[in-house]
Amino acid sequence: MFPVPIEKATKTNRVIYYSSVALVLLLWLIPLMIITLAAFKTADQLNAGGRGFVLPDPFTLTAFKRTLTNEPFMASILNSFMVVIPVTVISISLATMAGYALSKFRFRGMIIIFAIFVGGNFIPYQVLMIPVLRLTQDIGIWNTKYAIILFHGAFQAGFCVFFMRNFISQIPNELLESARVDGATEFEIFYKIVLPLVRPAMAALAVLIFSFVWNDFFWSLILSPISPSGMLAPAGLATIIKGRFYNEYNVMAVGSILVALPPVVLFFLLQKQFISGLTMGATKG
């Protein structure tokens, strides 16, 4: 293990180590702490110079009330769920099939197709912006959530294919061969053998895709810039809350917390899946 485990150090060094970890942690969390404090302050206190590390005086929940009763913003938060769920289902199911094809069959063009999916992940959004915008306008779904679902379903599938292919290639070929010998059809093999085995990968992907799409800002601005029931929560924060409550930092703080909360809760609940998904590719090879 590198560096040397701290248990082997002297007692003084252990104390120094743990207190410096605590110090780093404290410094690291300052920006988030002052925003949390701000959520409980009055707009007057914030505008009178009380934006730093001072306790709320008076302590108030007005900002929460004002944010939670702001219908357009709450609509954008609700809409985020309505977008994220179908996107996750679409991209993971398409990618599982494609990942199976790319890992367990050898055919001409396989490498190029895999490269397209992988390379597609790295394409700057900006170069897709105008054609995707035009496409959604042409089929009449621009400024609705369907435009965001349509794009993200495809785009996230690229990442999922990359992930799924690498995961499915670890399934032993013998398992599939023996089923083939027993007379199972290709669809049965996929459905009865591959699918149950890739469930952990699906869980890891689901939490990742949830947070990627939930946090998307660019595409929401492009594909659904006006309708609150079509945009995603970060765009709701930027356009609705920042526009309406520009002078009330407490409301903006509450809005930020509400937008941040769902992926944060998901992360702390499913930390193992999240980390394993994110670090794939960083360890092997």
Binding site: M1, P3, V21, A22, V24, W28, I30, P31, I35, A48, R51, F53, L94, A95, M97, A98, A101, S103, K104, F105, M110, I111, I113, I116, G119, G120, I123, P124, Y125, Q126, V127, L128, I130, P131, L135, A154, F155, A157, S169, F190, W214, F217, F218, I222, P234, A235, L237, A238, M252, S256, V259, A260, P263, V264, F267, I275, L278, T279, A282, T283
Partner: protein, 362 residues
């Protein structure tokens, strides 16, 4: 049997492949096409050549953009002022380092690309006024240089926190978790954090004499935004390196320790080379952030490219504004194509590396 086996993978592949190609691959070609045209985004014509205004009420036609072919004009426009601006920058540096007979330039870390020079007679050599295109190129370069500093910082934190025990484990989670928060939220959090009017840093600004704070000052804004963007990226790099450290060969480390290697030497020659996969992934993801997502999200939220004209603007955001607000679709496309061409270097590197690492692909 043989035919069936050949068809099966394509059936599994088709839905994802067709969908992905339409939404992600084909649009690239579309943007390249538009970048050679002049188009305001609102003019259309019929695909079959009829005039859209002459259509009767019950007649319909497939609308296509009514664009004018201009060749490389959009690209020329983007780089038109570059030589002139480069000349201005050259002159600035010449004045800084060779300010005349009796004066010595004293460069102080602050402005421009990072330096301001105060001449001994008290006059300042001013950073020249540059065109907006040059500003956004320089700012994008700043992102490419400074944003990846999250990688060594993340590595440092990973080495610091690669221990066991509940407290260290909790610390890792708490340092990482800003990564799962939207960049738009982190942008706002830091806007609040940097606030010069009664914010946490105001006493420091007062002491330094920075009355506009960080992101309100045209020379510091870009650096302030990049530092805010580190908040998510450092967490990501930390996790990537922690994963990398668990797979470092412990026998090799023990053997090297037996041979008397320790500290820096052990890290430099045994550990760091084994962390290369982590470094590579962190680098690619960070470059994407600098060119595509983080630079756009953070700049749009924190300054909208300001203060003033393009002081903190970057290619990824300027393109968005040029297209949607100035309705200069052709010009916007050409900027996005330039971004894509640059990214292509990293895309190809990633794919080549993957090809040689994965024996299943060969």
């Amino acid at each position: 049997m043989k035919i069936k086996l050949n068809l099966t993978p394509w059936l599994f592949l088709a839905p994802a492949l067709i969908y992905f190609t339409i939404m992600v691959i084909y649009p690239i070609i579309g943007s390249v096409h538009i970048s050679f045209h002049d188009w305001n985004g609102t003019q259309f014509k019929c695909a079959d050549g009829r005039d859209i205004k002459s259509l009767q009420e019950n007649e319909f036609c497939r609308k296509i953009p009514d664009m004018k072919y201009v060749g490389f004009e959009n690209y020329e426009r983007f780089f038109k002022k570059t030589p002139k601006d480069l000349n201005k920058i050259k002159k600035y540096w010449q004045r800084v380092f060779d300010p005349g007979d009796n004066m010595i330039g004293v460069p102080v870390l602050d402005q421009g690309i990072g330096l301001i020079s105060t001449l001994t007679d008290g006059k300042k050599t001013k950073w020249p006024r540059l065109s907006i295109e040059t500003k956004i190129i320089l700012n994008t370069i700043k992102w490419l240089i400074f944003f990846p500093l999250a990688i060594p910082i993340g590595l440092g934190l990973a080495l610091f926190l690669n221990q066991i025990g509940w407290f260290v484990k909790l610390s890792k989670s708490l340092i990482f978790f800003p990564f799962v928060i939207s960049a738009a939220v982190i942008g706002f959090v830091f806007q609040f954090f940097y606030d010069p009017n009664g914010g946490l840093l105001s006493p420091i600004y007062e002491y330094l004499g920075w009355k506009d704070g960080i992101i309100g000052d045209k020379d510091k804004a870009t650096y302030g935004i990049i530092a805010a963007a580190w908040y998510r990226q450092i967490g990501y790099c930390l996790i990537i390196y922690l994963a990398g450290l668990t797979s470092v060969n412990s026998e090799q480390i023990e053997a090297a320790r037996m041979d008397g290697a320790s500290g820096w030497k052990l890290f430099r020659y045994i550990v760091l080379p084994q962390l290369w996969p982590s470094t590579f992934v962190a680098l690619v993801v960070t470059i994407i952030g600098a060119l595509r997502t983080d630079s756009f999200d953070m700049t749009q939220i924190m300054t909208e490219g300001g203060p003033g004209r393009g002081a903190s603007d970057v290619m990824s955001r300027y393109m968005f504004q040029k297209t949607l607000f100035d309705q200069d679709y052709g010009y916007g496309s050409s900027i996005s194509v330039l971004l894509f061409m640059f990214m292509l270097i990293f895309i190809i590197a990633f794919i080549i590396r993957m090809y040689y690492q994965d024996e299943n692909l060969r």
